[in-house]
Symmetry: C3
Subunit: 140 residues, 3 copies
């Protein structure tokens, strides 16, 4: 049994929901060495999040962005944390709703996802740099 832990940086993304399964797997060739276990993928930020959702149709990612922009409005009159821009406080709230990590079963050297599942980077800021991840695989 063993532990693999790697830090990696995703390329900078525009605001919105992005499918990043292949970008992560490309930096994780060691996954093939695990026959069983779990992978924990963690984002070290509070204004972007990770989620699992539909991997085929880009319109799902577009509608996610549309929905969360309406559910968490910018410039709400009761916001007090406003000095970093109109997108900042909504970004923190969206990050809380969507979560800072995903945990995925590992089976026979690969992520054991459903056929329609992919990993989303949810970028909530208008102008973000590449986001740092910490990936920990536990298994044997």
């Amino acid at each position: 049994m063993s532990y693999l832990q790697k830090e990696m940086t995703l390329t900078a993304k525009s605001r919105g929901f992005h499918l990043v399964t292949q970008e992560i797997l490309g930096q994780l060739p060691e996954l093939h060495d695990f026959s069983v276990g779990v992978a924990h993928i963690f984002i070290q930020h509070t204004s972007a999040s990770l989620s699992l959702n539909e991997n085929a149709d880009p319109s799902v990612r577009d509608d996610m962005e549309s929905y969360f922009n309406r559910a968490v409005p910018e410039n709400a009159p009761y916001f007090t944390h406003i000095y970093e821009g109109a997108d900042d406080m909504p970004a923190h709230i969206k990050a809380a709703m969507l979560g800072s990590s995903v945990t995925i079963p590992v089976t026979n050297g690969r992520f054991n996802l459903g056929i329609w599942q992919g990993i989303y980077l949810c970028e909530h800021r208008n102008h973000a740099r590449g986001r740092r991840l910490v990936v920990t695989v536990q298994g044997r």
Copy 2:
């Protein structure tokens, strides 16, 4: 120390929130072999989710369904992913909000839940088949 990984299918459920703790435990007798660890319960779908919540009063599950149906409306005029039915895009959004997995501490051969906690299958589609889970228990 060891890893246990099992795939299981829950019986098909109606749209809504369902308590499935016993249905999962009934397919996981090996849990008794672990004195300490964690159990990761993962759903391989993007239109249903897993959550932990109140295990006693069915009215909580009813109110959850009522709430999320209002928070994530069907037929929102800005949705573009609409060809799989009015319940489809809301199902993806609810799945993102509620999450694809729960992780539960394992202690002395059982889930170490609070006395009021149970596992919910949150079924967001009108007509779904049984949902596939991958359960991974790590511990000793």
Copy 3:
């Protein structure tokens, strides 16, 4: 490799979002013994939740409370689970949205958080006692 599992109780908190990173670390000196792994922090309740978010400016926590109180209203006319008070059913819904646990990478004896990340206890009830956590660290 080893497993550490501890139950701990946080001091009672007022309704709102609270930074509890140091309160948890103060009860977890054994974390220093792990060079690599993950920490799973689990709350045994259905009306409070755990989340990771901004650790510096208290206005973020205030705005979180303001936002979620508006997103999940008290006394919604369709609620049926109402006999435990106006704050009860909203507390269950907020707990479902925010989640019952956080999982954090462990590196060189410490939580490998981003520099702006901290652990939030999200207290959704008006009058709660101290909340019980189960912390499981897996690693070597």
